[in-house]
């Protein structure tokens, strides 16, 4: 980036709330049901229907408000946002406009070097999702209303971010929060977490904001970073060429790796917001707030600290393990079965996460139970198998959560800890490799590894490495 310039970014994040029923009617929010099956007269916008607020929606949003240090407003008001679209049956969206439920919050992001930055949150408000229009038919548009009325929470940041990296860190934190709070699954690819960005460029030192553009349709962290980078370069090029930035909405195209303006007709909206007369203002009493606060789970920063102090894990480990709540939950499950905390951390961070990556699955879909992983770790700890053998056992356990003890028995992988048996093998090796023995005796310490390797090969890796070491050392030193 041209160092003359400074970039200013603000994000609007939409999070689909994991309530069982929709925001204003009793319909299920279940994803994947047949089109137009999660519907009733209310979400279909039939004449004469009225919305009834789902209290859970308020509760969930309050939790996010607590997590982001927002002020929870005692009184907030729903409003109608009016526009026509076939997948919006009422001709308006119920949202919050002038009086949102949460305001004036912040979150802290942490850079790789450990330095921190505080990013402001302007507001969090509640609204309902629209349905889905399916245009890929030959000549018709089909509408699925299932998603209509599913509750959304919109988190609007201050224009505090100064690089795509900061935007991604912010977004990562938001995702982490909603997952920790259990109020949204945080899946950007499936659209349960959506992000729009406002972005502008100005000369360093300038205090006035430049003309901003809005970018939509970035459905992954990678796309957010790429789209922002693209837009920064585009805007700087224009400014360098003396061309004025036009305030417009751009759509990111992940296939072409570029953005293009939305047709202006679609954005020339006057939404004619006004207070929703069918709903009373939301009143959040102190006692309701206190009740909700009791439901606050441990947030990632605190959990990370606890992992460091309680399990003596390095900061690096604690960072990775607490990144995602399900992973941290899995780790804590595993250590219910073993006290080898660091080994458990190595396994979860290493083989487990690697496998999830390879299989492209979530940890909640991971086949090995925490109990069996714990068992495996204990089998290393008590010397039944070596860490190396454990790496062979692990893939077998993936098949239907197989008990590691059974795998070891079936494959005859139990570690040889019988001293006399190992002694016998070592004696033969020493006899067969006189040249190397002499080298050792002449002080060539390196050769020691050669004997260890030989012994392990001979025992197919099953020999207890500590015992091998001890016997070899005493035998060789005895020859001195």
């Amino acid at each position: 980036m041209n160092s003359k310039y400074e970039v200013v970014i603000g994000l609007e994040v939409h999070a689909q709330l994991l309530t069982e029923t929709k925001a204003f009617c009793g319909c299920s929010t279940k994803f994947g049901n047949p089109p137009n099956s999660n519907v009733c007269p209310v979400c279909l916008g039939q004449p004469g229907v009225l919305p009834v607020l789902n209290k859970k929606v308020i509760e969930y949003t309050m939790l996010m408000g607590f997590a982001t240090n927002c002020k929870i407003k005692e009184r907030s008001v729903f409003a109608r946002k009016n526009y026509f679209y076939p997948d919006m049956p009422k001709g308006y969206q119920i949202t919050q406009y002038e009086e949102p439920i949460c305001e004036h919050g912040y979150i802290d992001i942490e850079f790789k070097d450990g330095s921190k930055k505080r990013l402001g949150i302007t507001r969090i408000h509640i609204e309902e999702d629209a349905g889905k229009s399916i245009h890929d038919q030959a000549y018709e548009t089909l509408v699925d209303v299932n998603r209509c009325g599913v509750p959304l929470m919109e988190i609007v940041s201050e224009p505090d971010m100064r690089s795509p990296e900061e935007a991604v860190l912010y977004l990562t934190k938001i995702k982490q929060f909603v997952q920790y709070l259990g109020i949204c699954d945080g899946n950007m690819e499936e659209g349960s977490l959506r992000c729009d960005a406002n972005i502008s460029i100005r000369l360093k030192g300038e205090t006035k904001l430049g003309t901003k553009t809005e970018i939509k349709n970035m459905n992954s962290f990678k796309n957010v970073e790429k789209a922002l980078q693209y837009e920064i370069e585009r805007q700087i090029d224009l400014i360098e060429d003396g061309v004025k930035i036009v305030q417009e909405t751009l759509l990111w195209d992940a296939d072409l790796n570029m953005s293009a303006p939305m047709r202006s007709k679609e954005e020339a909206h006057d939404y004619r917001y006004f207070p929703e007369p069918d709903l009373m203002p939301v009143i959040v009493s102190e006692s309701w707030k206190a009740e909700a606060k009791k439901k606050m789970p441990e947030l990632p920063d605190l959990r990370r600290e606890r992992f460091i102090t309680e399990f003596s894990l390095p900061k690096y480990d604690a960072d990775i393990l607490t990144q995602s709540k399900p992973v941290a939950d899995y780790f804590e499950e595993v250590i219910k079965y073993t006290k080898e905390y660091k080994t458990a951390s190595n396994w979860v961070m290493g083989d487990v996460l690697k496998t999830l990556n390879e299989l492209k699955i979530d940890i909640t879909e991971f086949s090995i139970s925490a109990e069996n992983l714990g068992k495996l770790i204990n089998l290393i700890g008590n010397g039944t198998i070596s860490g190396k053998i454990a790496k062979e056992v692990f893939p077998d356990m993936l098949e239907g959560n197989k008990d590691p003890e059974i795998v070891i028995k079936e494959k005859n992988l139990v570690q040889i800890s019988d001293t006399s048996a190992i002694e016998k093998i070592i004696d033969e090796i020493l006899k067969a490799n006189e040249k190397e023995v002499n080298e050792y005796l002449e002080g060539k310490e390196k050769v020691f590894g050669f004997f260890v390797g030989k012994t392990m090969r001979e025992t197919k890796g099953k020999a207890n490495p500590k015992i091998v070491n001890d016997i070899l050392r005493s035998k060789l030193d005895g020859l001195k």
Partner: protein, 478 residues
């Protein structure tokens, strides 16, 4: 064939066997048929009504009947009844069949009332003459050259012409009280939030109320006590205890203090109406009611405030009729935008389009503060006037309309003059208070004159008791 004064008498006759419910329903059906030219009904449910009559007759025989057993009710065509049309007198919903039943209508059915059909009204309840209907104008039964009032004109006529016992209407700015006064029947608009709006096709959500038309105060009380109450499906309905109106009606234990707002009796009020009301007021005074002059200083802002706020809400409430999912869709549309434009241009009538455009305008960026926000403030001031007045008085008496029923076509080309006809009724909806129109006299030409009584929020009982007193003590002696 109708030889009963009110529903209690009817029920007695049904119980004793003196009256057959089936015959009674058949009689109403034939009366509806005979009076077709009045155009009071959009839809008549002959088979459905006769079927209900049989069931209810059986219940009466077994003494398992509900409170409203055998009451034959017509409902305004903006109220949903499952599997029956809800056209709202509009071309855009002409073929629409409701998929659920409104709470108010369900409550009537649960008490064994018989729903005989759906009455004509101004399209989406927008109008004061029942001339704005895709089903044609409704005629006043007293003088067929004249309008019955609106928007619930069909409901008023159905009762006035003896086509049913009772009807339900809706009142957003006088749509029950004004037609009741034009047709010479009782018309009660309850407190906003007293009756669930679930299933009432919204015109202006923060104004709409459902209430009865009837020949007697007793029947109005009975219907009100059935349809009132908190409904989980309507967040704006309030959980306030519903008195046993019909039982307490007769028990006037004190003579109320009544306020006469001078703003309601000034220029523009028809002299005959003025005199008729003054006459009743004088008799109330001599009966022991205390009469005092009061002021409602912000009254001059009611019409402007009302038409800004109701059109704003309407412009949004009527957005759902877009041809995409149900209702009328224009055949002439190449693009999505065409479909919206043409379906709505062809589907809505002139007055509805006028109000949608007004409402869209007042909510537009740049005009919102000057119109909508200012009107909200004015609404608060108007409500404060009433709050203040009701600290001092129990009831307020006013005309229901500045004019007698006017001729069909007389005002339809001048919307502003039509709007000004709502001058005495919109304030109750702005303040959310209840009001009733009591038929107190006839003009020299024989046209009905209604007198409006207003009460504080949830004080319907005071309205009903006073109306009952007028019905039985004052009008009897005339």
């Amino acid at each position: 064939m109708v030889n009963y004064k009110n529903h209690s008498e009817k029920l007695q006759k049904l119980k004793s066997g003196e009256l057959s419910l089936e015959d009674n329903v058949k009689f109403f059906l034939s009366e509806i048929d005979k009076n077709k030219k009045l155009n009071a009904f959009n839809f008549v449910f002959s088979d459905f009504a006769l079927e209900q009559a049989k069931t209810v007759q059986g219940k009466i025989k077994n003494n398992t009947n509900g409170k409203l057993a055998g009451m034959v009710v017509a409902i305004k065509d903006v109220l949903s009844l499952k599997d029956k049309p809800t056209a709202c007198s509009s071309k855009i919903l002409k073929d629409y069949i409701a998929v659920y039943t409104s709470t108010a209508v369900q409550k009537l059915i649960d008490e064994d009332a018989i729903i005989i059909g759906k009455t004509n009204c101004d399209e989406f309840a927008m109008g004061s003459s029942n001339e704005n209907s895709a089903f044609g104008a409704v005629l006043n039964p007293v003088d067929n050259q004249r309008v019955p009032g609106g928007s619930s004109g069909g409901s008023a006529v159905a009762v006035a012409a003896g086509l049913c016992d009772v009807s339900l209407g809706t009142d957003t700015g006088g749509s029950i009280r004004q037609p009741a006064s034009f047709c010479g029947v009782y018309g009660l608009k309850p407190t906003y939030s007293r009756v669930s709006r679930y299933g009432l096709t919204a015109f202006a959500s923060s104004f709409d109320s459902i209430g009865p038309f009837s020949h007697s105060v007793e029947d109005a009380a009975k219907v009100l006590e059935v349809i009132s109450g908190k409904d989980e499906k309507d967040s704006t309905s309030l959980n306030v205890e519903v008195p046993n109106y019909s039982a307490e009606l007769t028990n006037i234990d004190k003579k109320y203090k009544i306020g006469i707002p001078k703003e309601y009796f000034g220029e523009g009020l028809n002299e005959e109406i003025k005199k008729a009301i003054e006459d009743v007021v004088a008799k109330l005074k001599s009966s022991g009611f205390e009469i005092v002059d009061i002021n409602l200083p912000h009254n001059e802002y009611t019409i402007a405030t009302y038409y800004i706020l109701t059109t704003a809400e309407a412009s949004s409430n009527l957005a759902r009729y877009d041809g995409a999912r149900y209702g009328f869709r224009s055949n002439d549309a190449a693009t999505l935008l065409d479909m919206y434009n043409n379906s709505r241009s062809e589907g809505f009538g002139k007055e509805v389009k006028r109000r949608i455009m007004l409402g869209t305008y007042v909510l537009s960026a740049g005009y919102y503060d000057a119109y909508y926000k200012k009107a909200q403030k004015a609404r608060r001031l108007i409500k404060n006037d009433f709050d203040l007045a009701f600290k001092n008085v129990d009831l307020i008496i006013a005309p229901a309309s500045p004019t007698l029923p006017f001729k069909i076509g007389e005002k339809s080309e001048d919307p502003l003059e039509m709007y000004l006809g709502d001058i005495y009724t919109t304030s109750a909806n702005l303040a959310g208070i209840p009001g009733i129109s009591v038929p107190v006299a006839n003009s020299e030409e024989g046209l009905p004159i209604g007198m409006q009584i207003l009460a504080n929020q949830f004080d319907e009982l005071k309205l009903l008791k006073t109306s009952y007193f007028i019905q039985n003590e004052i009008l009897k002696n005339n």
